[in-house]
């Protein structure tokens, strides 16, 4: 997932794709958020009432199906996405990563390329 929420449709398309794959009985072990895709993980997003809530949709889907939502640490740091540990380590007074997302390295992407049968990229 390579693009941010609302700005590009990629986060929506990926969500519908993953839902369909799960409904068909496929396994989706991990979604890796890279580039502006890391912005999907912010729990501070407040979309208008009549719009979908992209972060919540992902968090709920992940909880229901045990998907590992990984946010790339390098991409996230640049763009101001931090979890509590990272915030403390960087001396920042706040953090903004939503439940269900975890911060880790690019190796988590490569690992999936090695272990899974298919890898699909959504982005801009």
């Amino acid at each position: 997932m390579s693009e941010g929420p609302y700005t590009h449709q990629a986060a929506d398309t990926a969500y519908h794709f993953v839902k369909s794959a799960l409904a068909k009985g496929h396994e989706v072990p991990r979604v890796f958020f890279y580039h502006d895709g890391v912005n999907v993980s912010s729990r501070l997003s407040v979309p208008p009432q009549d719009e979908r809530h992209i972060q919540k949709n992902w968090s709920e889907l992940a909880q229901e199906h045990g998907i590992d939502l990984v946010v790339c640490i390098a991409a996230a740091q640049r763009r101001g996405l931090l979890d509590a540990n990272e915030a403390e380590r960087q001396g920042k007074d706040a953090n903004n990563i939503a439940e269900g997302f975890r911060i880790s390295g690019l190796g988590q992407l490569i690992e999936m390329g090695i272990q899974t049968d298919r890898l699909v990229t959504f982005g801009d």
Partner: protein, 102 residues
């Protein structure tokens, strides 16, 4: 084994679709998603180039994206096949790899 290519940009603004078609192997599939669905418009300035490639390549259009943009079946190139998100999943399974033309 063949490749599923995805294209998500309008071919009138961005060169991704034409570049993709030039790199397809016979038997590959191209799935138009998001703004990429405009690539299936009949009668457009790129329709000829797209149609020509359909000899070797199967063209799919993500139906939800086409409907969102007011592209009904009458406006879509004959030969293009409409699929849903579940059809998208099947295409990924049925091809050895998926290449996104971002």
């Amino acid at each position: 084994m063949s490749t599923l290519h995805t294209v998500n940009k309008s071919p009138f603004t961005n060169g991704a679709l034409l570049s993709c078609l030039k790199h397809c192997k016979p038997g590959d599939a191209v799935l138009l998603i998001e703004d990429g669905v405009y690539g299936a418009l009949a009668g457009s300035s790129v329709a000829g180039a797209v149609s020509d490639s359909l000899e070797d390549v199967t063209l799919y259009v993500l139906g939800g994206d086409a409907s969102a943009r007011g592209l009904d079946d009458g406006k879509v190139l004959s030969g293009a096949k409409t699929v849903g998100y579940d059809g998208f999943v099947d295409l990924v399974v049925d091809h050895a790899r998926t290449q996104a033309w971002l």
